[in-house]
């Protein structure tokens, strides 16, 4: 039985959709500033192209697989292929006060940004053709099933009681783990450790981080799917955790490396945004400060551990999104309270240790599945179209070798 459409809720979700849409080009700028100038266009193109690619994939079959009628708790059916039956009447299972298509297009932006996050791991060395096929296959065989498990009606992790308000496991753990696998399979960039690979434009990265922070209000507060109290809570804790993580990362880096880094502040803010994502609709403000604190500490040291292990996750996707996502998912099991959201659950600190166990299971399952399927996709592509550019193409840069363009005439 369809509910009545609420104008305020619908307006908020449409605005949130636009906010989340902006995050993907913002990610392109965040990543683009971090690479060498010969690869900046190719890096921005990864995000921009995925925005177009997955937007089409989503309306054709992605939405149906993720949110369509349940098949055994594992996947949505193909009944909504090409958005058949997905009209303007609300779907009471997902969002009873907004048109079904508004919910669909809001979710599309999550499907878009998730594979775009992974591109930071294989920056500066992946063939464009391999990137296109990888993104399409990953969205279909990794993102869509995991979204169904956690968010789809009938999804088995949702039925188990896993809490993921806006995508800690679905978006960040899945992409962070897949990024680590991609970095291992592709191997290190030529000259890593022997020649400078400093960010070519930190201002671009900080601009990207600012736009990501802005868009994240749509990501988290929009996930309330209504313009009400829960959206306000999510908005406030999102800003608080991002701020605390930026302060913490900068301070830890200052103590460790002797200077308050601008880049560290920007990365810290993103880490805080990642960590609060699964918790935003279940925790209060005091908990958000501790979640931001943890994100700043854990993600900072996670990135340094990666450097010592000599894994070339070029733009630290695993360190920020993998570790931040895992911390956020587990912190939800610690700090969640039904005083914030009666549809959620209490966490360990409120007398429910089972919730932490459920969160741990969700993280382990999503990480294992994403790692395994990502590895298979990459191996298949390696044997068919090839993953890496030729050595001379990597040396002249991906902008020229893959796109025939250069970013700067200076």
């Amino acid at each position: 039985m369809a509910g009545e459409i609420n104008a305020g809720d619908t307006a908020w979700i449409l605005v949130s959709t636009a906010l989340v849409m902006l995050m993907t080009p913002a990610l392109g700028f965040f990543y683009g500033g971090l690479v060498r100038k010969k690869n900046v266009l190719a890096t921005i193109m990864h995000s921009f192209f995925i925005l177009a690619l997955i937007s089409v994939q989503w309306v054709l079959w992605g939405y149906s697989l993720a949110f369509g009628p349940d098949k055994g708790g594992l996947i949505g059916g193909l009944e909504w292929l090409g958005l058949r039956g997905v009209g303007t009447a609300p779907n009471p299972d997902y969002a009873p006060t907004i048109p079904h298509q508004a919910f669909m297009i809001y979710q599309a932006m999550f499907a878009v940004i998730t594979p775009a996050l992974i591109t930071g791991a294989f920056a500066e060395r992946k063939r464009f053709k391999a990137f296109v096929l990888f993104s399409l296959l990953w969205a279909t065989f990794v993102y869509d099933p995991i979204a169904h498990w956690v968010w789809g009606v009938g999804g088995w992790l949702r039925a188990l009681g896993a809490l993921d308000f806006a995508g800690g496991t679905v978006v960040h753990v899945s992409s962070g783990v897949s990024a680590a696998v991609a970095a291992l399979v592709l191997g290190r960039r030529l000259g890593l450790g022997q020649e400078p690979m400093d960010p070519h434009d930190v201002t671009m990265t900080v601009l990207g981080a600012g736009l990501l922070w802005f868009g994240w209000f749509g990501f988290n507060a929009g996930s309330a799917l209504a313009a009400g109290e829960l959206a306000v809570n999510a908005f406030v804790v999102t800003n608080t955790a991002a701020a605390m993580a930026a302060l913490t990362w900068m301070t830890v880096g200052w103590a460790h490396q002797g200077r308050p880094s601008v880049l560290g502040s920007a990365a810290g803010a993103v880490a805080g945004l990642v960590a609060i994502t699964p918790a935003a609709g279940f925790v209060n403000v005091p908990a958000a400060i501790l979640i931001g604190l943890g994100a700043g500490v854990f993600c900072y040291w996670g990135i340094h551990l990666k450097t010592r292990l000599r894994i070339d996750d070029a733009l630290d996707v695993w360190g920020v999104h993998g570790i931040g996502g895992i911390w956020g998912a587990l912190a939800t099991g610690l700090f969640a309270t039904t005083a914030v959201n009666v549809a959620g659950a209490d966490g360990l600190l409120y007398g429910n240790p089972r919730q932490l166990l459920v969160q741990l299971i969700a993280v382990a399952v999503v990480a294992s599945y994403a790692a395994a399927v990502t590895w298979v996709i990459l191996k298949v592509l390696a044997l068919t179209v090839g993953l890496r550019v030729q050595e001379h193409e990597e040396r002249i840069g991906l902008d020229a070798s893959q796109h025939g363009e250069v970013a700067y005439q200076i």
Partner: protein, 42 residues
């Protein structure tokens, strides 16, 4: 709830103290100009 707020206050005050006492080591800054940042690897 009150315990969490006390932990928050301790964490924030610790950060503020750190900003006051930590020295800034400018010797660590290796690339400061546009020309240097865009210079080809040697």
């Amino acid at each position: 709830m009150m315990t969490l707020v006390l932990l928050d206050l301790c964490a924030f005050i610790a950060l503020v103290v750190a900003w006051v006492v930590l020295p800034v080591n400018s010797q660590k800054v290796e690339r400061t100009t546009v020309q240097e940042a865009f210079a080809p690897a040697s």
